[in-house]
Amino acid sequence: MRIDFFLVMAALLFTIGCIGVLVRRNIIVMLMCIELMLNAVNLTFIAFSYELQSMTGQVFALFVITVAACEAAVGLAIVLALYRRRRTTDADDASLLRW
């Protein structure tokens, strides 16, 4: 089988995550879609690391996992703070800073 299979799979997962971030209004689901996109990027990194026989791609994927962990922690803390103030998890209701 070809390595392109994994690249196409990653492209589709990234697109699904991208549509999810744009379409859904629930902040927690939006964060999950961001995780989906980061995972698609990881799959691309690892597929290219396999093709090029270089482990640098795997190191990059490890750092992406680190950043995803930070993003989830801070994002969910923001969701909790927003819920305490406004009793909502809807992105459209958090419009104080919107122009």
Binding site: V8, V29, T66, L80, T89
Partner: protein
């Protein structure tokens, strides 16, 4: 033959999505369309010789990713995301990244997803009525943008140089093991590792600060 199998799977997928999310024809159509595109691409001659089990895992990954997006209940979304992450861990195993596959299951499907489940339980979120999604321009723009983006990515993949086949045994024995990954992390990329530790500390402090009752 492959095309026929793909079409059967598409019909089954559409029925499944329809059963889980009734009364949302637009989303079902989007889901079915993306699944159809995925399978037509996956079974195209460009990707000939795809392993059967890899195809099944890929189909599961796409389907669970769609459930994350289209399901109104956040808990089902989290569980689908865990399934998706495990499918990706199996892909990592196929691609000789054993350490990262284990880390994916432990860190991602374990730790990070537990955080999501915890927050959803804490906020006691119910399924949304009628799936709050962006309306009008936003929805159309998202669908058009997503379709355009997918087309762009697939065209880019079509025209890339060097279509490599997977050849088992081409890689060194230590490729993807924990010791070689650790050697790179603490050798060539030691500065990035330290920067990542600073990032983790900063995120932890930020999360603690945000979780305080009074934000001042």
């Amino acid at each position: 033959m492959h095309l026929l199998t793909g079409l059967v799977i598409v019909v089954m997928a559409a029925a499944l999505v329809r059963a889980v999310a009734p009364g949302r024809p637009i989303l079902t159509a989007i889901a079915g369309g993306i699944a159809a595109a995925a399978l037509l691409v996956a079974f195209h001659q460009d990707l000939a010789g795809t392993d059967f089990w890899a195809g099944i895992i890929g189909f599961l990954a796409i389907l669970s990713a769609l459930f994350v997006v289209i399901h109104p209940n956040p808990m089902v979304s989290v569980l689908s995301l865990i399934l998706n992450l495990i499918c990706l861990a199996l892909f990592y195993l196929l691609l000789q990244a054993q350490t990262l596959a284990i880390l994916q299951v432990i860190v991602y499907a374990g730790a990070i997803m537990v955080l999501f489940v915890f927050v959803i339980m804490l906020l006691n979120l119910r399924a949304e009525e009628g799936l709050r999604i962006g309306r009008g321009v936003q929805r159309v723009g998202a669908i058009l943008g997503g379709a355009g983006f997918a087309t762009l990515l697939i065209i880019a993949l079509r025209h890339r140089q060097g279509h490599a086949w997977m050849e088992p045994g081409r890689h060194a024995a230590e490729f993807g093991t924990a010791s070689s990954l650790g050697g790179l992390l603490f050798g060539q990329y030691v500065f990035a590792t330290e920067a990542a530790s600073v990032l983790l500390i900063a995120a932890m402090v930020g999360a603690v600060l945000l979780a305080k009752r009074r934000l001042d």
